[in-house]
């Protein structure tokens, strides 16, 4: 019975390692950055910079 208990925890370790391999290697939750995404980000930054420049002009 003790031997079986010891084997169960070793099998649990194997299952945990398998789960970690899946979550480490899986592409779920990550997304490739496309050219269109990059353009959107650049446009957003340009708008932020423009609004900051306008605010700066008002204060000066």
């Amino acid at each position: 019975m003790v031997l079986q208990v010891r084997q169960i925890i070793q099998i649990a370790n194997v299952v945990a390692v398998a789960a970690w391999i899946v979550v480490v290697l899986s592409p779920w939750g990550t997304r490739e950055l496309t050219e269109a995404d990059l353009l959107k980000i650049e446009a957003a930054f340009a708008r932020i910079e423009a609004s900051l420049g306008t605010e700066g002009g008002k204060t000066v």
């Binding site: 019975m1 031997l3 084997q7 169960i8 070793q10 390692v17 970690w20 899946v22 939750g29």
Partner: protein
């Protein structure tokens, strides 16, 4: 020592070592050590422990194996605790203040339940009771992080939720093992 190892034990051990080594390679490939330093260190240490213990099991006495197992398992426990803190630091800042208070209260209730459970479970030695309580607390804390990862929109398949829930299940099994051994021996 090798006389105590059955062929089934050896087969599971070899599969575990292969899995852990593959996990280390996966961590290096994905450069996870730059994002989750303590979990990566935990994985490398666990792989090293498995290989070292297998080598000692076939080359040294039971006493040597016992002392090496004692030192390495406690080192792994320290790394698990640091991984718990690392996962918690990633998840908890995502909660706003009222939800954080509610979450803290729920965690406190769960830990109180763990303390009561460890105190009331029929174990012969106080050391076993402390070990049972601490392992169950770690399991509860990992489940707590995994549930809040889910609450924040991270599914179980996402990295942090996957790591936390797996470690939670693993420590739950360890608690079950302690219960069975404590009841039998």
């Amino acid at each position: 020592m090798k006389d105590y190892i059955s062929s089934a034990d050896l087969a599971i051990w070899i599969v575990l070592i292969a899995g852990r080594l593959f996990l280390c390679l996966s961590i290096c490939k994905k450069r996870l050590h730059q994002r989750l330093r303590w979990f990566s260190l935990y994985s490398f240490a666990a792989a090293f422990e498995s290989v070292l213990l297998l080598a000692i099991a076939y080359s040294a006495s039971y006493e040597v194996y016992y002392y090496v197992f004692y030192v390495t398992s406690h080192s792994i426990s320290v790394l698990t605790f640091l991984t718990l803190i690392e996962c918690g630091r990633r998840v908890l800042p995502g909660l706003n203040v009222p939800q954080r208070e509610k979450a803290g209260a729920l965690l406190l209730v769960a830990i109180s339940g763990v303390v009561a459970f460890a105190g009331l479970w029929p174990l012969r030695f106080i050391e076993n009771r402390i070990e049972l309580g601490s392992q169950l607390s770690v399991a509860v804390a990992f489940f707590f992080i995994a549930i809040y990862s889910r609450y924040l929109g991270l599914s179980w398949s996402r990295l942090l939720a996957g790591i936390a829930s797996s470690l939670g299940f693993l420590y739950s099994y360890k608690v079950r093992q302690k219960q069975l051994r404590g009841t039998i021996l």
